[in-house]
Symmetry: C2
Subunit: 221 residues, 2 copies
DNA sequence: GTCTATACTTGGATAGAC
DNA sequence: GTCTATCCAAGTATAGAC
């Protein structure tokens, strides 16, 4: 059996502990999606991961610690996806198109459900609010910057501050997840995005330079 | 002590049981606001109400039953408030103004926090989703109708379907509550509403008939 | 360092006292 | 009709085996 670089940088080698650690994070993510914060107990998560419940406390100190690691994982993963997708976009219509196609992914895969669950849980567990807030801030920041980017050379830029639009987009995003998840019907969310795309295209046409209507998907991740 | 109409219609007389029942509902609402769904246990709620824990099961069959009664209470109360406030509004700018001033009430008082907590809880507790969905539907319906009302004689009406706008408004509403609650900062929410009001006033000015900029508060409740 | 068995706490629910 | 005492299930956390 070839073992590449025993004394090399720690990042590469996968110890047994690292494997269970990852299994626990994955199981925590799935559990948050399916059962929300209140349903994400040590026993349920550990069962799903197929490991002993006590390992959560060994690897993450507490259930809360594990859930935060899960939030980190989802947040990092999705933001990488978003960054690469938004890269090269330069009109409001394109941005709406890209946001729309990615949100569809998120709703289907339940990525935002993890954020929603953790924000909800922040109300319950002392000290969690601060930690979750730290991890949500990049989302509003990212949205603000993306909006600012396409608004810079548009006449809309002077009407709507990117700060407010970024906040609104993330809020809308979270709210849509809640409503969609609640009655299992994606149709209103889809219709809303179609609507937004149409409107953005129209405004882009009226206004300045930009304006290809259809988004590029940005498959790279 | 005067006891009006002992044999009269049941609605008026307040039995001891009714009082406890109401105390429990009030305590459940406050507990959902402060500690979220996961923190709303029978013992915590009963302690807050100053009654024995077992009474929850006597009066409401289960904790879930009590929480749904609490949701009903908040939902009914707020919708009465909304209805009376929107009554007489006939321009988009006015509507945004009214919505803005009431949302400020809601954020301060934590009314929407109860909705958010229950929607989050719906992911956890089997069967709860359906019940919560039933109680949230009137909100999107109300928003849709309010939007449709002011959009009817506006040129915007043909651009944006009230259905989608209503859905978006409720989603935005829930998302704003989450973000605001999370980092305890009302400023972004306030700024967003100021922004929306400004934009609606502008669009109203460009477009059709309506357009007094300032909302009436609709103090009656 | 990794994992298991076990201790302890809290929560939902009910039988029966008042 | 109201409340208490109590049962059992589920939760977090740790002491100690490997």
């Amino acid at each position: 059996m070839v073992k590449a670089g025993v004394a090399a940088a720690a990042a590469v080698r996968t110890t047994r502990g690292e494997a269970t650690r990852q299994q626990l994070i994955d199981a925590a993510i799935e559990t948050l999606k399916d059962h929300g914060y209140a349903g994400a107990s040590a026993r349920v998560i550990a069962d799903r991961a197929g490991v002993n419940q006590g390992l959560i406390f060994y690897h993450f100190d507490s259930v809360t610690g594990l859930l935060l690691a899960a939030l980190d994982s989802v947040s990092d993963m999705r933001q990488a996806r978003y960054s690469s997708a938004v890269d090269g976009v330069d009109s409001p219509a394109e941005l709406v198109g890209v946001a729309s196609s990615i949100l569809r992914e998120d709703l289907d895969a339940g990525h935002v459900a993890v954020l929603v669950a953790m924000i909800a849980g922040a109300a319950t567990t002392p000290g969690l609010g601060e930690e979750v807030a730290k991890r949500i801030a990049p989302w509003t920041g990212f949205a603000r910057d993306a909006v600012a980017g396409v608004l810079a050379d548009s006449p809309l830029g002077s009407l709507v501050p990117a700060e407010s639009v970024g906040f609104a987009v993330v809020a809308l995003y979270l709210g849509m997840e809640m409503l969609t998840h609640l009655d299992g019907d994606r149709a209103p969310a889809t219709a809303l995005f179609d609507q937004a795309l149409q409107l953005a295209t129209l405004l882009g046409g009226l206004g300045g330079a930009g304006g290809t209507a259809m988004p590029k998907d940005g498959e790279r991740m």
